[in-house]
Symmetry: C2
Subunit: 194 residues, 2 copies
């Protein structure tokens, strides 16, 4: 396959989440796609945000935050949270807010799933900082549970691609992880691997 060089500033598909912090006594939410689990045990998660975001200031106030997973029907509210800064616009009334065990990480009632986190460290880079937090509890709407786990199809999450800047829904089930690869046949023989 012929390969074309696309430069260095490229992106992988991202989950769409909302980062919640409390600042000046009010809840604030920003759209967040640069987010990943970082550590298995204890359960750490990282959010890479621009240093000049209002949330960067806010995270230092209470040292707690939340990661909320909006469903597709919250697409406008989610995108809005990425369009305006909490520095100029009060975003505390967009959603119904609830608090968990930390008492200071605002979470979104309307989101199917919310992760409550305590700040562990802020890793500084040039334009961004990685907010590293320990997940202390998670909250799932009771209708989004199947087999004691989150029902991702009901959660109906969004994904983001850049630089085309499109939101996407979750597609079809493509198979079981740590399983479909067992059927791989390499070379000419009929051996099942693993």
């Amino acid at each position: 396959m012929e390969k074309i060089n696309m430069g260095a500033n490229v992106f992988i598909p991202m989950p769409v989440t909302l980062l919640g912090i409390k600042i000046g006594g009010k809840a604030n939410f920003m759209a967040l796609g640069w987010v990943s689990r970082l550590n298995a045990s204890p359960p750490l998660i990282g959010a890479a945000i621009n240093k000049y975001h209002y949330s960067s200031e806010g995270i230092r106030e209470n040292e707690t935050f939340s990661i909320n997973i909006p469903s597709k029907d919250l697409i406008k509210e989610t995108d809005y949270c990425g369009l305006v800064s909490g520095r100029e616009t009060d975003k505390s009334e967009i959603f119904n807010v609830f608090y968990g065990k930390t008492g200071s990480a605002p979470m979104i009632e309307e989101c199917p799933m919310s992760l409550e986190c305590k700040l562990v460290e802020i890793y500084e880079m040039q334009s961004n900082e990685l907010i590293i937090g320990e997940i202390v509890e998670s909250y799932l709407g009771n209708k989004y549970i199947k087999d004691d786990a989150p029902d991702i199809e009901k959660i109906d999450p969004l994904f983001l691609t850049m630089p085309d800047n499109n939101y996407w829904t979750l597609g079809e089930n493509a198979g079981k992880a740590w399983d479909v690869g067992k059927k791989l046949k390499l070379g000419d023989d009929d051996t099942e691997y693993v």
Copy 2:
């Protein structure tokens, strides 16, 4: 909405990628879902892997790596790379491998998109380490380009959810980011925001 506590070890939807490193003169690939862009400028990306992975050893050898985005039709090969360790199994022959400007970050010919990275730092945590790299170049198969950008529908990427351990395809276009939120109407008035 009634909320159920789901504990701390929860996961957000993840992109499915393949981490490529060269170790002992051979290419090795592992399935990687804990991955995110970290910094805008310079373009940094992070991969959070278990410290005991063979790739953890490998990354230190050449201080380069790749992040490859497999399409759905590579699901078996991708999953296989997550099932077996390079310590016991030679995975260098699964794909056709090519190299870019670093000369030591193996990339996958069959993957629509590959990011070539130079190691910047390894951030140590308890069970995992975050491999932080600068993207130095990216390579896109010529049939996966639309409007000078990656054509994500043609790339046909996979996503992973845990703990149900399912792979998912990309769904439908749900709207434009930094745009659909402009139509949000808050409260009773008809004001368009932003």
